[in-house]
């Protein structure tokens, strides 16, 4: 898998576009701030949310069983999947049993994580993503680049071109209103024809056996109220103990995600409609591993609002695809290595440790601390590239030898300002890319102290 630095470098080749991407996400971050400031109890809500989620993880086996019991009592079929393969087999099994060949799906990062779409397509089932952003990237044959706004990286001209080719819209059309209307008409047909609906799950309630799905478009509701089969796929960390806990989470989720006071639809499902069938697939796929880790357990608090990516200076300037992980950004850089530390070894370094993600996280995940801890883990596991290993070693050696440190500093202060530009700004010096090095001071702090204080 190409490393984050390599893909990020490709992304910023197009400066104008990288800037546009950065601004789009900052706009969303600003809307989040405005929404958060409208509730004086915002910080209190974050604290409650964090405590509820930490309690949930501490009681996970117990709460999962409680959820299964209550959901079953309401006529829901509950399935357990250890990994992506088992998850996909279960979903396919249910569809096959009902002889379903046409499925609509609302946004679910979990099914992206499991690569459910290509799996079902290989088995002859048409699966249509119905969230507009997800439909756009599906038509492009690409994954989402953002977990809340899957097509945030695509320009309207490109969407116009794509829709012209795939949906027969007018050539050269770029008006979002027109393009959205075309998608509405196209997807209405898919909703009407579908024999089953798949949704993700935002929250599952142990106490009642119900679950909640949030959308702005209404696609989860259309996809599940026109046919007789609803399959909901969820990670085992999506649980909350009580229905009342939603009064905390639904106040935080949309405000953190897009700056809306709540999503347009927050639908609570408690069992199938008369004559219909409802299935829930509970997926582990590495989550139980994270729950066993004291360092990373809190990453299971995540409610997938994406506030951390909208604020992240690295994500905004490198794009979702540079992470090569279903969930990009700060939280993805924690979850990715947890699943496969070797493949995702560069992600924890895609971070300036500025801590902005930790500040905005509605469930108070200590994101930048966990990213730092991951760097150590990557080193311990031996996945650090040679260049980083050797430079760290040299740095450590120099830092431990005061005289050498002083000498190196002195030499650098003398030599660097006299070097020709091509020796400073080239492939070898990552710190000289796209920016000027800071001006070197004439003397070190130690020398300055000596001159100004010690002799007085």
């Amino acid at each position: 898998m190409p490393s984050h630095p390599k893909l990020a470098a490709e992304f910023i080749q197009n400066k104008e576009r990288a800037h546009w991407h950065d601004q789009s996400l900052w706009f969303v971050r600003s809307k989040r701030d405005k929404a958060a400031h409208q509730l004086p109890e915002w910080e209190l809500l974050r604290e409650q949310a964090s405590q509820i989620k930490q309690y949930t993880v501490s009681q996970l086996p117990h709460l999962l069983e409680e959820f299964e019991r209550n959901a079953t009592a309401r006529g829901v079929h509950v399935h357990w999947a250890k990994d992506a393969t088992e998850h996909n087999e279960i979903v396919h099994g249910i569809l096959k049993q009902h002889q379903v060949t046409r499925v609509v799906k609302s946004k679910s990062m979990l099914t992206e994580e499991c690569h459910l779409n290509p799996y079902l397509e290989r088995h002859g089932i048409e699966i249509i993503d119905t969230d507009l952003g997800e439909r756009i990237v599906q038509l492009q044959n690409k994954p989402p680049s953002h977990i809340v706004m899957p097509a945030i990286h695509i320009k309207k001209e490109e969407i116009g071109e794509l829709f012209h080719e795939k949906l027969g819209t007018e050539k050269g059309a770029t008006d979002p209103q027109y393009l959205t209307e075309a998608a509405r008409q196209h997807l209405r047909q898919k909703f009407i024809q579908a024999e089953a609906g798949i949704t993700g799950v935002n929250f599952a309630i142990a106490e009642t056996g119900g679950f909640v799905v949030c959308t702005n478009e209404g696609n989860a509701d259309l996809g599940t109220s026109l046919n007789k089969l609803h399959i909901a796929c969820m990670g085992i960390e999506k649980l909350i103990p009580r229905a009342g806990d939603l009064s905390v989470f639904l106040r935080l989720l949309a405000r953190s995600a897009t700056g809306q006071p709540i999503t347009t639809y927050s639908s609570h499902f408690h069992g199938p409609a008369p004559g219909a069938e409802m299935h829930i697939v509970l997926l582990d796929n590495g989550r139980s591993e994270i729950s066993g880790s004291d360092e990373f357990r809190r990453s299971l608090n995540c409610i997938r609002c994406a506030a951390c990516m909208n604020t992240c200076p690295v994500y905004r300037r490198s794009g979702g695809y540079s992470y090569s992980n279903t969930v990009p950004g700060p939280i993805g850089s924690i979850l990715g290595p947890a699943r496969d530390p070797k493949a995702n070894s560069t992600l924890p370094f895609a971070c300036s440790l500025c801590g902005s993600c930790t500040d905005v996280c509605p469930v108070k995940i200590d994101l930048h601390h966990q990213l730092l801890t991951w760097r150590k883990e990557i080193r311990v596991k031996g996945f650090l590239p040679f260049s980083k290993r050797i430079s760290m070693k040299m740095m450590s050696w120099m830092m431990q030898a005061p005289r050498l440190y002083r000498l190196t500093g002195k030499m650098a202060r003398w030599i660097v300002p006299r070097l020709p530009r091509f020796l400073l700004y080239n492939r070898m010096n990552d710190w000289g890319k796209q920016r000027e090095l800071p001006e070197f001071p004439k003397q070190s702090f130690r020398e300055w102290m000596k001159q100004n204080h010690d002799n007085k």
Binding site: S24, Q48, Q51, S58, W80, L132, S247, R251, T264, P274
Partner: protein
């Protein structure tokens, strides 16, 4: 042979995860902090208009009908259905429909909502899972009638009113369907309702 369920649960059970307290959301120290609006109805109307919906406080069904006759979406609607007695002169009878697909061409639906939430402009609706559930999402335009006395300030107050024993389905609807998936440009009318009008009705009204 162990099942995946056993595997997952056993793995979790064998971990030593520090015990955590579950916060009591009913405790007065918390509840006194939740935002309460001096005029919840005005707040609700303001937030709803901010998310693209419209709110009219009215006296009775007669006034609803009058207001409806001024709405262009209603005037232009060919197929109308209503779950409120004497409201909106419907020409499609809901009880006669058994397949939700038959609601495909409904232009305007008048439906009941249980209560409204001031902090986010949402209306709580429930449905027992009959075919009419799809009307909230499939109709081109949706109008909700909510008792004027049923406006709460915040979500904790909303959840105090909710029990999930009866209906298999319930949702908070806040404004019309929308998307900003194309370059962050807000477009109203993604898949669901193109417009959402909420009437807060003073006098009691009957559902059909």
């Amino acid at each position: 042979m162990t099942t995946s369920k056993d595997d997952i649960l056993n793995k979790l059970r064998n971990q030593s995860v520090p015990q955590r307290e579950l916060p009591d959301l009913q405790s007065p120290e918390l509840t006194k902090e939740w935002i309460v609006y001096p005029d919840p109805t005005a707040q609700f109307a303001e937030v709803l208009s901010g998310v693209g919906g419209e709110c009219y406080p009215v006296k009775d069904i007669h006034e609803v009908n009058q207001k409806l006759s001024e709405l262009s979406a209603f005037k232009e609607a060919n197929k109308v259905c209503s779950q409120i007695s004497d409201c909106g002169s419907p020409n499609v009878s809901i009880p006669e429909i058994t397949d939700p697909h038959d609601f495909e061409d409904i232009d305007f639906a008048i439906l009941p909502g249980e209560f409204a939430v001031a902090e986010n402009g949402a209306v709580w609706i429930t449905n027992d899972g009959g075919p009419a559930r799809v009307l909230y999402f499939l109709a081109q335009h949706v109008t909700l009638l909510v008792p004027a006395s049923a406006v709460v300030s915040n979500m904790p107050q909303a959840y105090e009113r909710l029990a999930f024993a009866e209906n298999s389905f319930g949702t908070f609807m806040s404004g019309p369907s929308k998307t900003a998936d194309i370059e962050q440009s807000l477009v109203i009318g993604a898949h669901g309702a193109r417009s959402l009008t909420v009437f807060l009705v003073e006098e009691t009204f009957q559902t059909t």
